[in-house]
Amino acid sequence: MSENDVLVSIKNLGVSFYSEDGIAKAVQDVSFSISKGKTFALVGESGCGKSVTALSIMKLIPFPPGEIVSGSIYFKDKNLLELSPKRMRTIRGNKIAMIFQEPMTSLNPVYSIGDQIAEAIMLHQHKTDEQAWADSVGVLKQVGISDPERRVYEYPHQLSGGMRQRVMIAMAISCRPELLIADEPTTALDVTIQMQILDLLDELQEQNDMSILLITHDLGIVAERAHKVAVMYASRIVEIAGCRALFDEALHPYTQGLLKSLPRLGVNKKRLDTIPGSVPEPLHFPEGCKFHPRCPLGNKDNRCRSVEPDLREVKPGRFAACWRVQGYQTEKERLEYGTKFGK
């Protein structure tokens, strides 16, 4: 992967939320890069910081209570975090677009869908009213809505959930963005519709050479759709790998646990494997590795309990943040570990 292929590069991103009860570090030290024309999946359970990461790229973190406290987000050669709000508006919706989980509430019920798509086109591409409307018919057709000439005049409540998500996608791609952020785009949809929407995203990606940041909790979707995967747990990335590599051999105990706990068609088991306990709250993160209280390996390990591991390349193309993964510790650390913590 050469440098030129990288569309978005995030380094050491940190986002905090301030509340009466304390500072919640929603995202800590997150670094990854998205290649052109590829799908990068960010997977994790609710509250792990995956959506906050996506909102940071759009610079849509509500302030207060949230604030981006550190790091950089390079979109091509521009650091988005240093752009003025005005410059950012020319990128948001234009070069970077986003679709949300809830197709019911993300469309404005009082405007026809044509109005809503045309507005974005007129704003970013400086087209006339008529051109913009013609374009919106075009994108509706592109996202597989039948009879788009009639549909542009319809209102959101006249469409089904799947249709609304298609309209959302049409709005997002209307300005041919280079990066599409899809935040749980199919969670609210039925399984058969979910597949259709994901297929549509794939098609559009091929046609427009668009990068997709796919945020989801569903490992199955990740396996079938992503090129590269980052697994997040408790505000940090714990593992990054190529998609197949991850599902063939997960390195981090959390990823392993997640994969084992899924019920699968055709696999007959009396019980499911589980990860004990529950996800820690951002205000009460445990010391050391945040996964250690639930980890089968780290539970009794002094190092896991006291020092938080950062993300390192443990094999070519494989990144993990776990003291117990082979190849993680440096020679120096291994020596120090031996003397400092004892075995």
Binding site: G47, V279, P280
Partner: protein, 400 residues
């Protein structure tokens, strides 16, 4: 997502405490709440603050306590009710420390029922057995003539029903801090005694309208369908009647008594509450926890009043504080127009109406002071209501 270990095993917080914590964060809320409590104290202790009977007086070498003798049945009823309220507050405080939160609601309900019964019985007994006495002795002239000595008077040594034509329509002075009215009664004294009317009108009227509104609203909201359809048309008819004119009409037919005014305000202003409760119930009806209660076969009473009502009551509580302010206003307006309580019972609205005397003079102290009192109490209730709404809202969002 709570860390179960982190919490110590003390008794949990009740919903009321959560709201209270939120409420007291704003200083304005506290200031005006204290103001309302202060007014309550004034109203309760009015006879001790402004009375023409002395606390202690020596007549013929014997100590006497005429002020206590002069207290009427209604005074004792007020004391009884106030004491009961105070005991209830202390019990709530004690419940918080001693009683398991899971049964706290039930205990509180039982306490309220017991105390309310005692108060009601006490008042009835007082009315039946309390001897009517009238102490018309003019202790001041006795003092002046030397018939008595060593008197200790209340801070404002005038009765609210005093007529003293020598000092009528006097502006504020050292003797009468807020001046006197057309028959020479002390304005401050009448203001203090008038607070009883205003506060009780607000409370009783809103109590009546809340009970009617909650009952009708919950029935309409829970049963829905035809019951709701017919019921709502009835509510709409009630809302279409201009209530103030209805009140004036009714008051014109019935004797001018405080109770009539309270009841009339109460039964004409429940519609808003009914609509609030109905809307909440319609929403709650389909919530899973109500379905869960139904599927466990719990009795209707429990579903309506344990599961649904506590989740629907917030807007009614907020509306109640605004309602009290509104009722005070209506009473003042009625009294101003001459439909209110009959003199000599003092009321703020009635005092306002004396601002322009029969001789055509504008008596500013009779306009400003009662006006200010009405303004402040209405403002206080509105602000407390606003604070309560804010305190209930974020909690609701977080808790549900």
């Amino acid at each position: 997502m709570v860390n179960l270990k982190k919490k110590n095993q003390q008794l949990g917080l009740s919903y009321g405490e959560l709201v209270w914590r939120e409420f007291k964060k704003s200083r304005v809320n506290i200031i005006f709440l204290i103001f309302i409590i202060f007014l309550f104290c004034l109203a309760v202790f009015a006879p001790f603050l402004a009375n023409d009977k002395p606390f202690v007086i020596r007549i013929d070498g014997q100590l006497r306590f005429p002020i206590f003798k002069s207290l009427t049945v209604s005074n004792y009823s007020v004391f009884l009710a106030a004491a009961a309220g105070l005991i209830q507050l202390l019990l709530i405080y004690r419940n918080r420390k001693r009683i398991d939160p899971s049964i706290r609601g039930a205990v509180l309900f039982r306490q309220i029922v017991v105390i309310a019964t005692i108060v009601a019985a006490g008042i009835i007994l007082l009315f039946i057995f309390f001897p009517r006495r009238l102490d018309a002795t003019d202790y001041k002239s006795m003092l002046a003539s030397g018939g008595a000595t060593d008197a200790v008077f209340a801070p404002i040594p005038y009765g609210y029903a005093r007529t003293d034509l020598e000092v009528r329509e006097e502006p504020p002075s050292r003797r009468h801090w807020l001046g006197t009215d057309d028959v020479g009664a002390d304005v401050l004294c009448r203001l203090i005694h008038g607070s009883r009317i205003s506060l009780s009108v607000g409370f009783v009227a809103v109590g009546i309208s809340s009970i009617i509104g909650v009952f009708i609203g919950s029935v309409l909201g829970y049963f829905g369908g035809k019951v709701d359809f017919i019921g709502m048309r009835f509510v709409e008819i009630m809302m279409a009647i201009p209530s103030f004119f209805l009140i004036i009409t009714i008051v014109a037919f019935f004797p001018r008594s405080l109770f009539n005014i309270m009841i009339i305000i109460g039964i004409t202003s429940w519609t808003q509450n009914a609509r609030f409760i109905r809307a909440e119930f319609l929403k709650l009806r389909n919530q899973d926890f109500v379905q869960a209660a139904l599927s466990l076969g719990l009795p209707l009473r429990s579903i309506l009043f344990r599961h649904m009502l506590p989740n629907a009551i917030a807007p009614v509580l907020v509306n109640a504080t605004f309602g009290i302010a509104g009722a005070i206003f209506i009473e003042a307006a009625l009294s101003f127009l001459g439909f209110g309580v009959a003199p000599p019972t003092p009321s703020w609205g009635q005092m306002l109406s004396l601002g322009v005397s029969t001789t055509g003079r504008f008596l500013w102290w009779l306009t400003v002071f009662p006006g200010l009192a009405i303004f402040l109490i209405v403002l206080a209730y509105n602000l407390v209501g606003e604070g309560l709404r804010d305190a209930l809202d974020p909690r609701l969002r977080r808790a549900v």
